[in-house]
Assembly symmetry: C2
Homo-oligomer: 365 residues x 2
Amino acid sequence: MKKINNKLPSGNYNIFIGKNILSKLTKEIEHLNLHKNVLFIIDRNVNKYYYKYIFDNIKAKFNKSDSIIINSNELEKRIASAEKIYSQLIQKKYGRDTLLIAIGGGIVGDIAGFVAATYMRGIQYVQIPTTLLAAVDSSVGGKTGVNFGDAKNIVGCFYQPKLVLIDTHFFKTLNQSEIICGMGEVVKYAFLSDVNFYNYLNLNLNKILKLEPNVIEKVIYESIKFKCSVVMQDEREDGLRKILNLGHTFAHALEIAQKYKIKHGQAVIVGIVCSLFLSNRIGYINKENLNLYLKFLNIFKSKIKLKNLSTDEMYKIMLKDKKNRNGKIKFVLPIEIGKIFIDAECSVSLIIDSISESIKFFVNK
Amino acid sequence: MKKINNKLPSGNYNIFIGKNILSKLTKEIEHLNLHKNVLFIIDRNVNKYYYKYIFDNIKAKFNKSDSIIINSNELEKRIASAEKIYSQLIQKKYGRDTLLIAIGGGIVGDIAGFVAATYMRGIQYVQIPTTLLAAVDSSVGGKTGVNFGDAKNIVGCFYQPKLVLIDTHFFKTLNQSEIICGMGEVVKYAFLSDVNFYNYLNLNLNKILKLEPNVIEKVIYESIKFKCSVVMQDEREDGLRKILNLGHTFAHALEIAQKYKIKHGQAVIVGIVCSLFLSNRIGYINKENLNLYLKFLNIFKSKIKLKNLSTDEMYKIMLKDKKNRNGKIKFVLPIEIGKIFIDAECSVSLIIDSISESIKFFVNK
């Protein structure tokens, strides 16, 4: 088992990573003296496969413990889902001394975190991410929120959990496309952090895709350690934290353009490829490095499908992104491994060209 | 003009109090280097009477400045109203660099503050309270929120404004019942703070009801100064801040029982009277002091009407209050001026008796 302490201006908390560590949950609730009025918010599939595993591992004597089962897809990540949870909390008389425990992927965590941030002006919550994507990304950093209209995550708060517990036992039912999803963010950290991690990934990509326990634990640990180091310096995304958006401006637009039929992590990989092409066009990345990086990403070609994608439509959606409200799109672009340019502005034609080249990359298998 | 600096763990900001000081708004926006993409959220009545005054006094060159007009009543203080504002913000392409300016009573301020706390995980906002109640209470302290189902303010955040500007020029259109409303909270501070302020109020109640400028400015100043001193020590209401709920457990239930036909501040006065009776029954306040305090509150008898109030119904609603989720109602009770008991628990019969006595007090004019 590995442990990271995420020290933030708004408080600090531990992140545990390991296999079959769910029993730590109740020990930590005792140890941290968290509230004993518990509402579990659980993903429908996770509940189906792991109901027994979850409840066999919970030995704590709670005063209350109800559960809400959530269908997790982007279309349900809306205020209406938060309202269902508020109703349940009110109906079952949960007070300010409530502990929400989110067990599921990023959508469950984002909705539960938003409810925790806003119910009675803030109650405690714990994140138990059950997907690789949620483990390396959304469960850490305190970004909570829901979509509104076409805009992703536009209603939300910065609100930190009291504990994050990553039990890789939950990963055994992940299918290949869900693993690829998580890899989107992992690949992002490869570009953001350093050559060591990039090389480690380059050597072990196949083992990761097979979820080999020691490798996956190290990958999650390194990814989160890097993310925490960034969030620690810039909790509310006023500057440095923006680098974590590498590939995401493209990815968000792609998800909307493909009506969420492409998964977030896959969209991030496409987004990173777009960023590489754009960075090359602007002159930040030379041709040689571009080819090396594309080769590193080759393994994902066969695993991502883009359907009827219009570059113009994608560009229009990017203009609507919450980060680009004043008509200018700002990009995070890689220069080389560990060296990143923030707030790059580019001409419309370069942006559209780099989307086209990226589509070609994924279409020409 | 008077000025208070509210120093809080989550940041500090100034509160200005005076007559015809609205022109300070644009100077302070420059001075504090706040964002220039402005969305005004204005109460419908305030907009009707003060449109010219507001916009004559705004000399700043904003990049954007749209307005949303809000109907302010408790029934509109819901997530749906926040959603209307989100829609407008998205449609008009407001980004993270947005400044919301709320001009209105407590409802406008609470909704606008909640939107500011949750749009793109937090944008800047300024409070310009236009009622005595909002000035002495909700505009200061960072409590934002909306009602959900029957539960008041149950969805919200702690989120502080960048500036509070109290221009008593807006008070000239307040009717008597709205002044009484504000007095509810002022009277509360009289019991909470000290004998000096209590005596000052006792001597000047008539002048306050006539909104005599120097008197009203001092009353607002003293009330806010006291509130700030409490919030400073306990921003998130973990302990001391609870004293600010004096009278409010009764008041919230009363408002629901009367279907919001009684105003909040009036309900607080009734709630304080209930607390005085309850405190006397428990033995905290002696008979002599009880009579003195009731005499001080005599002036409000003729100004508050209670219609078809069932004590049992009120008790049932109190059990549903967000502060009383585990079946126990906790009260803030006055012992003497400046001396308060927090988290008092009482038998059902004493609670119901004190409601009955309070009803009698207001019915026997």
